[in-house]
Amino acid sequence: MTAIDPSTLSAEVPVHRTKRPDWLGLALALALGIVVVIPLLVVAIWAFAEVWRYPSLLPQEFGFRFWQATLARPDVWAAMSLSLRLSVTVTLLSALICLPAAYAFARMDFPGRNLLFLSFLASHAFPKFGLLVAIAGIFLNLGLISTFWGVVLIQLVGTLMMMIWIPVAAFQNVDRAMEEAARDAGAGPIRVFWSVSLPQAAPTIFAAVLLSFVGTFYETEGAWLIGAPEIRTMPVLMITYINNQIVVQYGAVLSVLLWVPSFIALMFTRRLVGSGSFAKGFGV
């Protein structure tokens, strides 16, 4: 029911040189700009403020002092390295088990295929935090609470859906004629997959992997519930900083630092997210 006309979405918005300016659009852009950008701008200013006393509109002194102070803290480095190790482990494991499964869902016929695929999409139908509490109850008995692998498992589950349904769409969109041509030229099935199918699906799969990586890096709930108190990832550290209110700038510097991965993700995946396939994965 939702055959999306891609021309309605930004990347391909047809540029009609209309005679009068799009006032409604400009008003919406301005309103969204204020609401979306200003909070982040305030944080960015805080990160570079050395002295900012109320009620001055701008900081009295700018500088990098708090960058040095934040980066000199061992807990920041420990959390950063732990977060990176977790995200790399989870993303690799997820790619290892999900990509072959996505290929199978997209291109093979096997009993229960539709039901199993639907069950992946349906895993969204439960309130996630309640599910985490239920899993935590089980992990408590298995001794996985507050361990690296406990958090890996929890975060792995979080990536399943993204790493299956986006690659499924990618494998389905591979040009069959090219595969057949390669096969006619004598290429074996593995050769066809490696040289023809995979390169065509690769950009979308890369976007899914990147989204999983960034999503895992920022995952807070699982790390907080399952990982506490031993496993302190960057977002968990950030919450402690917010709660303890030690130095305002620490949180601001961490925010700006943490922002880098999401900015990269934004650059690479905007096209995918803006396309209709993303919303369809949620059953619209």
Partner: protein
């Protein structure tokens, strides 16, 4: 694009595959399916069973004691009400903000539309911890908004930080991208021709919305509603950081019961109660996915 049998250049599966490939397919999907079974389906049944059967001296016996405790505890009920109230307010605000946005994005033909879409999707890439921090700095006491108001000689705002409005603002901010995307996708079903025909017949914008557009995106709006309910019932970071300490929303309440009160059975009971409340919406959501896939076949 997530349907399995259409889209793309050809049909998946097909008759050429032998039974051997069927087995290979099952083998390839077995690892994620096993994980899904172990960490999503099993915990749900385990949670229900664990809360309904309490251990006694002679083994386990059916018991509703934790549910009784939950529903006779004024504090727990206040938390539940707060969560329901926040959910309702967020759903209303999201529809009020995202429906106009989606309508604009669906029908706009100017270059500005690309900018609007980019801004509307932007919050998707801002993790909730950073959002929480940014909101404290902006609308918290003596935050950015207060600075500007003070410079203009106006009184300070009544800060929503640590009131239910804190998480409401954060959750709405966080959910704008997905809600807008879903509504735009739903509006894809409304044909340009129908809209133009109605417009030529002299329909005013309000009539157009009521009689042509809304009836066609009813399903998308219900999916959005389900999704909002599910995501707000499972929200933790924003209510925990921005919300009031008492009463608290279900996310922080469950977390505190589990980690600080150290009462996993009670925490799991609270989780089962959120499952039960969300079940209707979850079921609707699953039915909607299944129906769409059916329709595309």
């Amino acid at each position: 694009m997530t349907d399995l049998s259409s889209s793309g250049t050809g049909r998946a599966g097909g008759t050429a595959h032998s039974n051997g490939r069927g087995l290979t397919g099952l083998l390839l999907v077995s690892a994620p399916v096993a994980l899904l079974g172990w960490l999503i389906i099993y915990p749900i049944f385990n949670a229900i069973a664990r809360t309904l059967f309490a251990p006694t001296q002679t083994g386990t016996a059916f018991s509703l004691d934790t549910y009784g405790r939950f529903f006779s505890d004024g504090y727990a009920l206040a938390n539940l009400w707060l969560t329901l109230w926040v959910t309702a307010v967020c759903a209303a605000l999201l529809l009020a903000i995202c429906l106009p946005l989606a309508l604009y994005l669906r029908f706009a033909k100017s270059r500005v539309a690309g900018v609007v879409q980019g801004l509307a999707l932007f919050p998707m890439f801002v993790p909730s911890v950073i959002l929480a921090y940014a909101l404290i700095r902006t609308i918290g006491p003596n935050g950015g908004v207060d600075l500007v108001l003070n410079a203009l000689g106006l009184p300070k705002i009544n800060s929503p930080y640590l009131t239910p409005w804190g998480p409401i603002i954060g959750l709405v901010w966080d959910n704008i991208p997905l809600t807008t995307l879903m509504l735009v996708a739903g509006l894809g079903a409304v044909s340009d021709n129908a809209v133009e025909a109605a417009r030529d017949a002299g329909a005013r914008p309000i009539a157009l919305l009521r009689h042509i557009i809304l009836p066609q995106i009813g399903n998308a709006m219900l999916v959005v509603l389900s999704f909002t309910v599910l995501s707000i019932f499972s929200a933790f970071t924003l209510p925990y950081v921005l919300g009031p300490a008492s009463p608290e929303m279900m996310g922080p309440f469950m977390q505190r019961t589990f980690s600080q009160v150290m009462d996993p059975r009670m925490a799991v009971t609270q989780a089962v109660i959120t499952f039960a409340i969300c079940a209707v919406f979850g079921a609707f959501y699953v039915r909607s996915i299944a129906k769409n896939r059916e329709a595309r076949r």
